[in-house]
């Protein structure tokens, strides 16, 4: 097992100190309850550049990436009332919106979004993995730190999965390793991140 910390991730990712100070849940609540445009634009200013980078990284062309970024943030504006802090933190909610838009519009898998909404629907509103009162920004800080501490190869297969939407087979071919090796790296990364989150919450 490779145990070195990932310089690759450290280079490719940054940890904006201001991000941890913002309580995005509160901003989303202000949008949901009062249609607060200032709160929304704070969310926009922080997340739109990241959603844009995510889409560009997936190979979406500039104009379409901008259109989908706006659409993703527009959904945040329109659906803030449906955001449930017991189920996901704000950054995860926004990630899901962007991911689902990409699968729907770019990969053209129209049934995906319906299926995700159905899975969401199954557990009702109170099946949060996190006890009520867990501050979302504290949880976010834990996961950010855990991601940055992943061993290099695990960080690499994670990035290729999430940021390039590469299948395990495609990752195996690109890295010149077996499919089993890729699965093993992904598995260890998942278990490690899960352990960090369940120990420190």
């Amino acid at each position: 097992m490779i145990t070195g910390k990932s310089t690759e991730v450290a280079e490719a990712l940054q940890n904006p100190p201001s991000a941890a100070m913002h309580d995005w849940t509160a901003q989303l609540e202000a949008v949901a309850c009062r249609h607060d445009r200032d709160s929304f634009m704070r969310i926009y200013d922080h997340f739109a550049p990241r959603v844009r980078r995510y889409l560009l990284g997936l190979g979406v062309g500039g104009a379409l990436a901008e259109e989908l970024t706006q659409e993703a943030l527009l959904r945040v504006w329109q659906r803030a009332q449906q955001y449930d802090p017991g189920r996901s933190n704000p950054e995860t909610w926004i990630f899901r919106i962007a991911r689902n838009l990409h699968l729907d519009r770019v990969r053209r898998e129209p049934a995906w979004r319906m299926a995700q909404e159905y899975l969401d629907d199954l557990d009702g509103a109170v099946d949060g993995q996190w006890p009520p009162g867990t501050e979302s920004y504290a949880e976010e800080a834990i996961i950010h730190q855990a991601i940055q501490q992943l061993p290099g190869i695990q960080a690499r297969v994670i990035r290729m999965s999430y940021f390039e939407a590469k299948s395990q087979q495609a990752i195996a071919s690109e890295l010149g390793v077996s499919l089993g090796t890729v699965k093993s790296h992904l598995r260890h990364a998942f278990l490690k991140l899960q352990a960090e989150l369940t120990c420190k919450r």
Partner: protein, 223 residues
């Protein structure tokens, strides 16, 4: 379908690829079908999505093109209210009957097992192939006591049992259970229930046969 209590679940690597939107479509549809019957896997998927949230938050920013912020504000004006568009209800779609298919399969096979256009594939085996862009999605109905010849896979095979059960080298698979098989896994499923065993199978590569002619599995690929 009946209430189920799955004992075979999505593997950790699959959870990550699924949450990343990186699982080939045929496999993702089978994984979604299992998750719709498995609360444990839905919870695990939320964990995997948190990783996606963390990754996107840690991304470098991509600078907006000129006028992007103004364009966003204009779109807020255009939809004056932030009232959420009503989400469709799934109550109708999920109305449970003995023949109701899991909701994630409705776009591909319709709502009910009744009246499906089964095609003969081999002795004791019928199937229906769904049109998807990437990989192969197949519903199989195998008569009690029948078996499928020993085979391996170039790529992955995901199987979710919808009704009945089968045994193979990896155990007993009953309704709701998910089997993930990779390149090195060969198996010979034998049906283990009194009723026909109905499964949804996703493949992102070819099958290859061992000790039988490739033609024996050929019907699986003929649309």
């Amino acid at each position: 379908m009946q209430a189920v209590n799955p004992r075979h679940h999505l593997g950790e690597a699959t959870l990550l690829s699924y949450a990343a939107g990186a699982l080939p479509a045929a496999l993702a549809i089978v994984a979604t079908t299992h998750s719709s019957m498995c609360m444990a896997c839905r919870r695990q998927l939320r964990m995997a999505e948190r990783i996606g949230g963390g990754l996107i938050a840690l991304q470098h920013e991509a600078a907006p093109p000129a006028g992007a912020r103004e364009a966003m504000l204009a779109r807020l004006d255009a939809c004056a209210s932030s009232a959420a568009p009503a989400l469709g209800s799934f109550e109708d779609a999920a109305a449970v009957g003995p023949d109701t298919l899991p909701v994630p399969l409705h776009p591909y096979f319709g709502r009910s097992l009744a009246g499906l256009p089964w095609r003969w594939m081999a002795a004791g085996m019928q199937g229906i192939r769904a049109g998807i862009g990437e990989g192969t999605l197949l519903m199989l109905r195998v008569a009690p006591g029948e078996g499928i010849p020993m085979h391996g896979h170039h790529g992955s095979e995901f199987t979710c049992v919808l009704q009945g059960a089968y045994d193979d080298e990896f155990g007993r698979f009953s309704a709701g259970d998910l089997a993930e098989l990779g390149t090195d896994d060969r198996h010979r499923p034998v049906m283990a229930s009194d009723m026909p065993c109905i499964c949804i199978v996703g493949l992102d590569g070819d099958l290859h046969c061992e000790g039988c002619s490739p033609q024996a599995l050929q019907p699986l690929f003929v649309a």
